[in-house]
Symmetry: C2
Subunit: 102 residues, 2 copies
């Protein structure tokens, strides 16, 4: 069985300008936006825009097995890992039904 990539995160130096650029140049929907990050929805995967001071660029997978991760304000829990080639991977666990409510 194949799994889904939950989201991809890339770094921009200004979230509002990043959202402007992507919504003007690509066909996507703004799922969440504040001054520190934004989540853009594409048909098949979400693209997060983050600030360099807050998060590294990464690829996120849902992983129900993680323990003692960072708990975010929305109740999701995650840990950062890496693929041994320098690419950062986030393993994230959502609260039950959280993902569908977004």
């Amino acid at each position: 069985m194949m799994e889904k990539i939950d989201h991809i995160a890339i770094v921009v130096n200004n979230i509002n300008r990043g959202v402007d650029w992507y919504t003007k140049n690509r066909d996507c929907r703004v799922k969440y936006q504040d001054s520190s990050w934004a989540l853009l929805e594409f048909e098949n995967v979400d693209l997060a825009l983050v600030l360099p001071s807050e998060h590294p660029p990464h690829i996120a997978f849902v992983d129900e097995s993680i323990k003692n991760g960072t708990v975010h304000r929305d109740g999701s829990e995650s840990i950062y890992d890496h693929d041994t080639f320098g690419n950062i991977i986030e393993k994230i666990k959502y609260k039950k039904d959280q993902k569908n409510k977004k």
Copy 2:
């Protein structure tokens, strides 16, 4: 209408070892592999592994409007662009029905 992200590409220093790592640690399928690049299929999006000497990390979107791009051996045509924040974007046009045959 929302568009799909065609693929994401990340850099690894050895394609075979990269494929080994992802197939052992994540649930994905190898769609293509040679010594210079590989394409891993996840349920919702493809993840390309590329060498640092060949391609930069990037996010790829299908764009039928591109002209005078680089034509690849498989007939696809692409140009690299950027999002003005340092993230590289590939715009790719496939030969008719090519994407479905992969």
